[in-house]
Symmetry: C2
Subunit: 212 residues, 2 copies
DNA sequence: ACCTGAACACCGTTCAAGT
DNA sequence: ACCTGAACACCGTTCAAGT
């Protein structure tokens, strides 16, 4: 007979994210989430259809934490920067979850709200239709790609390797074959993810201004 | 006593990629790869240390297929576009593998070669040091982010849903709350991934020109 | 409507043994 | 040096039964 649900979706989201933050993506399973909630694995199937939905819960929890504020009278470019930064910061606060953000599609209001908040300044820049879609694609691609940042890509840190060791490894590549890689490896030593993201954002905004 | 290896790394790469292309990421396991090679699961541990290395094999197989050619006398911007397109096409040819490309770091010559090929035109644009690093981050973020394109993000296709159905679903969102999403959903109907990538690339190149 | 334990077909990996 | 089967601790999920 009609039983009230034992958990809310928010509880599941928060608990799943806590597990990922603490133990990484591999730490999250139907069984570990159930145990953290004090119940049996099968109970979760009253809330999700398949295991992959746990990943979506994590994405929603992260995106829902995105915060930004827009200075009154700010131009569309500063408004765009604010929202983009807010999303980037939320994602970056949960490094283990980043691969899921890149990879999982979610359809909660929180996700839609962030998307709409990015679209507003882009529309203010004079874009509509296809041009608006394309600018949106470029911005989201840059944010998610940059959030992955030094996590993936050729210049990524090896698991359990110090930044200095990674840079040293690249520095020891043959300079005649990989002059560019050797050079940016040196530059990476005095760099950090946040300032790199800002610079990337500036480049894209400059491109958006040039093609508006 | 000294036995010659049964397989080459290239064989493992090609077989792993074939499995992912045919059966998706979930189809790839130590056991399925071993079976496809006609051996037992434990044999693979002579070639890889852990399961995750299978993912790296797939990434390498995909990146190694990137091809481009550079018109003689081309400007740095066209050279950059050529390489970026070449990488994007290789990635796009293996949709199931895209999440791995976004997420796994590889250190084969093929990966380094592509990175260096992107760095060459960026260096020609007059950048060095930190500016070169930042431009490189922006370009790779955009390529990988855009490759994921309509696969993730709020406008992603639902699994097993037609493009028309996805667009219809977005069109039915409340217009007063999500005017931008409703608008780009309509634009997405007459769009395709390749032309969206070209447009994104153009925007970033414009930004690179403006800040060179 | 929602909860739950037993059971099944998988999975990565350790170990010990082979050539 | 490289190959391999048995065994172990996990995993997602089906099923049948409970309230």
């Amino acid at each position: 007979m009609g039983r009230p649900p034992k958990f809310t979706r928010e509880q599941l989201q928060a608990t799943a994210l806590a597990i990922v933050d603490a133990h990484g993506l591999e730490g999250l399973s139907m069984r570990t989430l159930a145990e953290a909630l004090g119940t049996g694995a099968m109970t979760l199937y009253n809330y999700v259809a398949v295991r992959e939905d746990l990943d979506v819960l994590v994405v929603e929890a992260v995106v829902a934490q995105a915060r930004w504020d827009i200075a009154p009278g700010a131009g569309w470019d500063d408004e765009l920067r604010s929202v983009a930064r807010g999303l980037w910061r939320a994602v970056r606060a949960h490094p283990h979850a980043v691969p899921l953000i890149l990879t999982r599609r979610s359809r909660t209001p929180a996700t839609f709200d962030v998307a709409e908040a990015l679209l507003r300044p882009l529309a203010r820049s004079g874009r509509s239709g296809r041009a608006l879609l394309q600018a949106f694609r470029a911005v989201t691609a840059l944010i998610t790609g940059a959030a992955q940042g030094e996590l993936a890509g050729p210049l990524a840190l090896q698991a359990g390797e110090s930044a200095a060791a990674t840079i040293a490894r690249f520095q020891s590549l043959p300079v005649d074959r990989y002059p560019g890689l050797v050079e940016i490896a040196a530059a990476a030593a005095g760099s950090d993810a946040a300032s790199e993201f800002e610079a990337c954002l500036d480049m894209l905004v400059a491109g958006l201004q040039a093609t508006a």
